[in-house]
Amino acid sequence: MAGTRDLTRLDTSIDIDSPRWSVWAVITDPSYFPKLYLDAISVQLDPPGPVRTGQRCTILGKVGKTRVEVPIQFTTVDRDFCLAHRALPGGLFAKWNQTVTLSPRGLRTIGRVESEYDLAPAYSSKVADIPTWNRVVSRNLLGYLPRVKEICELLSLPR
């Protein structure tokens, strides 16, 4: 398992042609989660309803042909500014902390995501190809902001 216990850190940012409140509405609407993470399939919130601090969320996803669960808990929900969560035990990650911060730039928004993660030993011990799993996870996390941007920049139909 050498190499699997190292924490992977990612830090990305993106310029979104959409106001901050609009970006915030997308990143805090769990029904968008399957579109924000490439390999997410669905989400379940406990308790249901709008995202709030302390709320738990289980993201169901896939890695190749394998179904995985990622339970998380929102640790910071600071409206229009910061959304952070951490992974809970029992899922794909031993550790996954992610912080999304939004900064206004005129009518545009700069989104930044800082992530650090480590696969759970329970998964690592059962999965033969750890580098592939790490690649899939990184691809999902790196793809988050471009997907937020794509959705936020969609236009309404002309009326």
Binding site: S31, Y32, P34, I41, K65, T66, R67, K126, I151, L154
Partner: protein, 151 residues
């Protein structure tokens, strides 16, 4: 009027396929251009449940509404469109039957794009093709998600 129909062999029991159909939160994952879904009432599929779906057509955000009209677990699901959205009419029927290798899923879509909703400047044939592409991928995704294995 557009639409597709066909049967796909799924390497999973009908109950596993039904799990994917019965959880509406899978819907944005099943259609590539669907972004999210709002339910009334919340929860698993039930007859009469109304759904508001937000999706994209090119760089435009669109919406349409549907209603679950028939639920026979784990055999048959029928969803029909409601007025006022991207489709003037919409019917989706999924029928599951047990087979030697797992499940045969017979899926059919029939729809008509609403020219009133899109207005001038949109080519109805292009929109129809986009919808049909989504429906074809829906069938492939239904198979893929139903066949996922647990660690």
């Amino acid at each position: 009027m557009g639409g597709i129909s066909g049967t796909v062999a799924i390497d999973a029991e009908p109950e596993a396929v039904w799990e994917v159909l019965a959880d509406p939160h899978y819907v944005p994952r099943l259609y590539p251009d669907m972004l999210n879904i709002k339910l009334e009432p919340e929860g698993r599929v039930s007859a009469g449940q109304r759904r508001t779906l937000t999706g994209r057509a090119g760089k435009r955000m669109i919406q349409f509404r549907t209603k679950v009209s028939e639920v026979v677990p784990p055999k048959r699901l029928v969803i029909e469109g409601c007025p006022g959205g991207a489709f003037e009419s919409f019917t989706q029927i999924v029928e599951l039957s047990k087979s030697d290798s797992g499940t045969d899923a017979k899926v059919s879509f029939r729809f008509k794009v609403s020219s009133t909703y899109f207005g001038i400047g949109f080519d109805p044939l292009t929109l129809e093709r986009m919808a049909e592409d989504n429906q074809r991928i829906y069938v492939n995704n239904l198979k893929e998600l139903s066949e996922l294995k647990r660690v």
